[in-house]
């Protein structure tokens, strides 16, 4: 069974932008694959034919007409300003990049759920329901079977204050002990912080092994004014909190904010971005048109103020630039910088300005700005670091790296890995990796997300350690410190089964003369179905030459058994509960049994475009799906909404090649006991659920071991 290169690689091959290493491999594949040869030929033809398309010529009287119009005094305003950077994108990049490292946290939080322990029908009530910040609040919690039997419970929260700029993760705290009142009721009283804008809550038992997160929706409180309106800061913080876990509710909150605070520029800006994001590129034009009058009114209001605040001016810059009113944006930016040159918003704008000039002097300009403004805006060290990463000297990278990590500890990982990638800075990078490892050795309880149990958090921390150890091991290998590298990679391998780590470890063992262990480690690489075919091939080719074939065969068999044991250690064994019908794109209803009949392994993937972690995995899911289908697995992907052009657009944007179904009545979700998204299930040929996951890393291995179970004779070892 051949695995074909991805379209992207064939395209790179066709236009010669492919790396030498890949090129050689691809050439070999193309020699024996007519299908891919055809694709490459078509791509080349496409490129050359496209270039030949003539544009015909302008009509001969065009100049005449131009001069006539000009002479008549006609004025046309051309878009000469290089477009202001889509600043919000950058803001989001900073935020998401920060959250993403912690997204290794957040999505991992959603990742490792203990299957059976889910609370249905629990209730939590606050009084007052619309508190003012600093107020005393009473909470009454009615437990479901999950927590009903506990002697006492803990209320945990994530507090967001108005000043929180969502750089870096927000800590969790234990807020109150919930006292048992009998009959499944628990109560507590606590005081909200004076500066609170928004808070979300979850309930758990004292041991932290059973958590009720209200089905991951959590419970919430928004700070209100004494008159009973939600404060705008509260709504803004709510939007920020929801962005990374439930984008649909985030959008609804933006709308609520806009209707409650129509005069506030912040709600106008959020609404614009929300509308744009919902409409997509096709609808941009009409969104801008529809927002025009609100924009003009807002602009006038601000122009009328004798002293707009720097925050207001900054918001107007973003607003105007997204409304494509580049002249106004430039005006307000210039005024903001002139009147408040060292305000964080101004410094952020000055950072963007620095980025709009000639690329050559960019880092120099940022340095000048840093000398003047220092750490006042997180944008500056972030942009400086990203630029230095791309084309800065080692000195520059280190300098900006230090500034960035001082500003935002969530960036430490990224700084460490960037430094480690440069030979002269490797030492600095390794120091940081070790520092991170130490901090993971004593993880802080406030980093445990509200939806996670203690065990899930520990598992997540372990995985992070494994990744760090792998990185550190690679760096040590590159430094030539074989002994330390060996030790480190061994620890990494013990934590999780990881093909590249095994490969490095095997190489090191061989180099240090530990042949026996090298063989068994190489065997692990060869036995791992998720090793890239290239890696597996090269390992096999090499070992065939150097090891005794029978011994090698035995080693691979043994490794295979080890892998199976590891994989099955995570296995469950649950039935599919009842029948389910889901809806296909044409509107036809299909039964799940029909799509995934017994006799073959099946992979079911629940995804939602409103769930950012799920959306982020779409590309990977698509690739994996193709791989699985090629192995004879039935792949069924299911989403939570009906087919609309917007859904189609999302699928197109993510290189999605699958039919996907709509779980219209939630039947399939209930049948498999889906909890949230992303949620992936692997079913054996018997039709029973054997694995469930929140990420895709293990799926190939799981599928492989299941397929072997049903056809043991077919498992061949070379």
């Amino acid at each position: 069974m051949t695995v074909h290169p991805r379209f992207r690689q064939l395209a790179a091959y066709a236009d010669e932008t492919i790396s030498e290493a890949r090129k050689a491999r691809l050439t070999r594949h193309l020699e024996r694959c007519p299908r891919c040869r055809r694709t490459v030929a078509e791509l080349r033809e496409l490129a050359s034919a496209a270039r030949e398309i003539p544009a015909s010529e302008p009509p001969p009287d065009a100049l005449e007409r131009i001069l006539a119009r000009w002479a008549a005094g006609e004025r046309i305003l051309l878009p000469t300003a290089e477009p202001l950077a889509p600043s919000r994108t950058r803001r989001v990049v900073a935020r998401v990049a920060a959250a993403c490292l912690a997204l290794v946290a957040v999505s991992a939080a959603l990742l490792l759920r203990t299957p059976e322990l889910v609370a249905d029908n629990s209730e939590l009530r606050f009084s007052p329901e619309r508190p003012v910040a600093g107020q005393e609040v009473r909470v009454e919690y009615r437990a479901s079977s999950l927590l009903r039997g506990e002697p006492r419970l803990v209320l945990r929260a994530r507090y967001r204050t108005a000043e929180l700029k969502s750089v870096g993760p927000v800590p969790q705290t234990r807020v109150a002990s919930l006292v048992r009142q009998g009959d499944g009721r628990f109560t507590a009283s606590f005081r909200l912080p004076d500066s609170l804008a928004y808070a979300v809550f979850a309930v758990e038992n004292a041991g932290g092994d059973r958590v009720d997160s209200n089905g991951e929706r959590l419970w919430e409180l928004v700070s209100h004014t004494p008159e009973g309106r939600p404060t705008i800061e509260g709504l803004l913080q709510k939007v920020d909190d929801l962005q990374m876990r439930d984008s649909e509710r985030a959008a609804a909150t933006v709308r609520e904010m806009a209707s409650l605070y129509p005069e506030e520029i912040r709600s106008a800006v959020h609404l614009l971005f929300e509308d744009l994001s919902a409409a997509g590129p096709a609808g941009e034009d009409s969104v801008i048109r529809l927002n025009r009058s609100r924009y003009v009114a807002t602009q006038q209001r601000l122009t009328g103020l004798s002293q707009p605040t720097p925050e207001q001016m900054a918001d107007l810059v973003f607003y105007a630039s997204r409304m494509e009113d580049t002249a106004t944006a430039a005006q307000w930016r210039e005024r903001l910088i002139r009147e408040y040159p060292l305000h964080p918003s101004a410094v952020q704008q000055r950072t963007f300005v620095a980025g709009e000039g000639d690329r050559n002097g960019y880092l120099e300009r940022l340095e000048v700005l840093w000398n003047e403004a220092g750490a006042v805006s997180p944008q500056l060290p972030f942009s400086g670091f990203m630029a230095a990463r791309q084309d800065g000297s080692d000195d520059e990278l280190l300098r900006w790296g230090k500034r960035l990590e001082a500003q935002d500890s969530a960036m430490r990982w990224m700084v460490a890995t960037s430094l480690v990638g440069r030979p002269k800075l490797r030492d600095e990078g390794m120091t940081r990796l070790r520092g991170l490892l130490r901090s993971f050795a004593s993880p802080s309880p406030e980093d445990r997300d509200l939806v996670q149990t203690e065990q899930e958090y520990e598992d997540q921390v372990q995985r992070s350690r494994g990744r760090l150890l792998a990185l550190l091991g690679e760096a040590l290998t590159a430094e030539g410190d074989a002994r330390a590298a060996l030790d480190t990679l061994q620890r990494a391998a013990e934590i999780s089964w990881n093909a590249p780590v095994h490969r490095s470890l095997a190489d090191l063992r061989l180099a240090s003369g530990d042949t026996a262990n090298a063989v068994s480690t190489y065997a692990r690489v060869a036995a791992d179905p998720s090793s890239s075919p290239a890696l597996a091939d090269s390992v096999r080719a090499w070992t065939r030459r150097h090891f005794d074939p029978a011994g090698w065969r035995d080693a691979v068999q043994a490794a295979h058994q080890e892998m199976r044991a590891q994989v099955f250690a995570d296995a469950v064994d649950q039935p599919v509960r009842g029948k389910a019908r889901i809806m296909g794109p044409g509107g036809a209803e299909r039964s799940f049994e029909e799509l995934a009949p017994k006799g073959a392994v099946a992979f079911v993937a629940f995804w939602s475009r409103y769930c950012p972690p799920s959306l982020m995995q779409l590309g990977e899911l698509s690739k994996l799906g193709e791989q699985l289908q090629a192995r004879g697995v039935r792949v069924v992907t299911v989403t939570d909404e009906e087919f609309t052009p917007e859904l189609q657009r999302t699928m197109d944007e993510n290189d999605w090649n699958f039919p996907t179904y709509w779980d219209r009545n939630g039947e399939l979700g209930r049948a498999l006991n889906r909890r949230g998204t992303p949620h992936y299930f692997v079913l054996a040929g018997s039709g029973r659920i054997r694995f469930e996951n929140r990420s895709l890393d293990e799926v190939i291995r799981q599928v492989t071991v299941l397929q072997e179970n049903s056809a043991p004779a077919a498992a061949s070892v070379r």
């Binding site: 379209f7 992207r8 395209a11 694709t39 078509e42 791509l43 033809e45 496409l46 490129a47 034919a49 496209a50 270039r51 030949e52 398309i53 003539p54 544009a55 015909s56 010529e57 302008p58 009509p59 065009a62 100049l63 007409r65 131009i66 001069l67 119009r69 000009w70 002479a71 005094g73 006609e74 004025r75 046309i76 305003l77 051309l78 878009p79 000469t80 300003a81 290089e82 477009p83 202001l84 950077a85 889509p86 994108t89 590129p281 096709a282 941009e284 034009d285 009409s286 494509e324 000639d358 690329r359 197109d652 944007e653 290189d655």
Partner: protein, 181 residues
């Protein structure tokens, strides 16, 4: 008439003269850059009528616009970017209903293999059916030869986004063209 400034001497750079607003300078600019602007506009908008409008707008507006030029980079590059943005603004205003030109036969197929001509028409049609965002990047990269960094500057997107869109465009085109064979 735009300016009350004395005309710069004929030996002054073209950009300066054109900014001052003389018919001769405009004509000279047109002679040098007119075709390039038209071709770019045509490729981006897919319609001769739109391309003509863009061509007109760009050159009528050029004298005033040139005041922002400032001499950075080549004049042609600057004009092309302005033209690209103008064409794109026009596209956005027109909305999704694109006319795929039926009379897209080249002025003279003279000497060209007819099957090649048909092939090109197929590609043109397929290009016309691409979503604007994807087609724009494809045109700017594959046909106009811009780098992803330049495209990022023109469109106000990130270079990574430009790369992604290019790949998607190629994939869609390839699929479409294959199905027509």
């Amino acid at each position: 008439m735009p300016l009350s400034v004395t005309h710069p001497p004929p030996t002054a750079p073209l950009a300066e003269r054109a900014a001052a607003g003389t018919a001769e300078a405009i004509a000279e600019l047109y002679a040098m850059h007119g075709e390039v602007v038209y071709r770019l506009a045509y490729r981006l908008t897919g319609s001769a009528a739109d391309a003509e409008d863009v061509l007109q707008d760009v050159f009528v507006g050029l004298p005033e616009a040139l005041r922002s030029y400032g001499g950075r980079g080549s004049l042609e590059g600057w004009i092309r970017r302005v033209a690209a943005r103008t064409a794109l603004m026009r596209l956005r205003r027109k909305g999704r209903r694109r006319e795929v030109p039926l009379n897209s036969l080249p002025e003279s197929a003279g000497g060209m293999d007819p099957s090649r001509v048909v092939e090109r028409m197929a590609i043109e049609r397929a290009l016309g059916e691409l979503p604007d965002g994807l087609r724009t990047v494809f045109v700017l990269r594959e046909m106009e030869g811009h780098s992803h960094a330049e495209i990022a500057g023109i469109l106000g997107i990130r270079p990574g986004t430009s790369e992604v869109r290019l790949h998607r465009a190629k994939k869609i085109l390839q699929t479409k063209l294959r199905s027509e064979r």
